[in-house]
Symmetry: C2
Subunit: 249 residues, 2 copies
């Protein structure tokens, strides 16, 4: 690093210090000094316009990215020329964990709206983590947790109906907003119906129809990409039921 000698409260470091998301992307209980060391390797934030892409699928992996504002999607195209939405990133999320293993970004990252992200050079981070067990743990935890959550989530979705899948999805989003300090009942989701469908394995028509059905039952109110969850309890019941006819005991 060129700025090796800088004090921990220099401009880049304070970027992290002042960031209200630090509880999400950084370990807690860092000493000010550790904080400084870490902040020093963070590059200046990158600004992205809507639809602009951060990295291309297949490009060689070099940085992790922490979402500061806005939201981004990961689209991956498989062998058979189908492209799937494989991840949604909200402020505080770290992008790129899934690309460490192969050395190439596993999908194209596209901004769903104007967004800004922090660049984290992985080499530096890795080198640092060998000397800072607390950081190593934090990274491990973060990877491991997202892996286990996603595994369970996707397996649960596999056997569910569109009704349950959507409820499950919306409640997940709601929780993520809650963790970030936003309202869990009212939020804007910058994804199209098609995006949601791609993520959940449904067609855009089905997504729309299901949302309409929810509205008819007063479970939520949707206007465009604005969502108001009205009856979370009932949505939870829906999400955790298979949505199918009861198998008789």
């Amino acid at each position: 690093m060129a700025n090796h000698g800088k004090r921990f409260d220099d401009s880049t470091a304070s970027q992290c210090l002042s960031c209200y998301l630090k509880a999400l992307c950084l370990p807690r209980d860092l000493t000010p000094e550790q904080f400084g060391t870490l902040g020093r390797i963070v590059d200046a934030p990158v600004r992205l316009d809507k639809r602009e892409s951060l990295v291309q699928q297949g490009a060689t992996f070099s940085h992790l990215y922490a979402v500061r504002t806005g939201s981004l999607k990961q689209v991956t195209d498989g062998a058979n020329s189908e492209t799937l939405l494989t991840a949604l990133y909200l402020p505080g999320d770290i992008i790129g964990f899934d690309s460490i293993g192969s050395g190439h970004y596993s999908g194209t990252i596209v901004a769903l709206e104007s967004s800004s992200v922090c660049r984290l050079p992985f080499e530096c981070l890795d080198e640092l983590s060998s000397r800072m067990p607390i950081l190593r743990r934090h990274l491990q935890r973060n990877i491991s947790r997202t892996m286990q959550e996603e595994r369970l989530r996707l397996h649960q979705l596999l056997s569910r109906t569109a009704e349950a899948r959507l409820a499950y999805f919306l409640l997940g989003i709601s929780n993520r907003f809650r963790q970030r300090g936003y309202s869990p009942h009212h939020f804007r989701l910058a994804m199209s119906r098609g995006d949601i469908g791609s993520y959940l394995g449904l067609t855009h028509e089905t997504v729309g129809r299901t949302l309409a059905a929810y509205q008819a039952q007063r479970l939520l109110y949707v206007s465009g990409r604005d969502y108001h969850l009205l009856d979370v309890t009932r949505l939870e019941r829906l999400a955790s039921s298979t949505g199918r006819r009861q198998k008789r005991a």
Copy 2:
């Protein structure tokens, strides 16, 4: 560790040295000394009978396990008293990556047949990895790769028919056997139809019917839990198509 002074070719170390799976669970290009250090922290292998469980869901996380022989499944029960088969482990696989984050095992691990596994104390492994970058990288890669593979796989499955899901699944198994040096065309899968269904989000009837349909088309031959893949090319076509009617361009 009590056995800190042991030479690298002592009994536990040689266990790994002589293990034909070391290419899978250990980094390649280790010096004999590093090899010894690593081998020293590996506990004696654990033997499991069919149906015996290795760890219970929710137990506090302490060890990773490397599968030596046999096969195991991870079953996770969600909130709503449904239990899902969330992972299948074959020789050379590492069990437990998904449990580092939460500190608790994320599912019960059950042997599908008589199996043996190596215990890897995570604390030691982690401590070691701070001094051995090559090991740290290997662990990171392993976690990251399984995470990304699984994410893509499950998202692809979400929008596919039973026909495509099963083909996809069987080809995945086939590849894993190939990597391990077994025949990719003929193998025994110790899972029941119900297990497969749970993993893929299908009912056991559908699994059976689909296998029967494959046999009628001479794509494969199944007898009980013995599988012979006859026409891999055609299976691959099936697996990578959605299985649905072609959407017209």
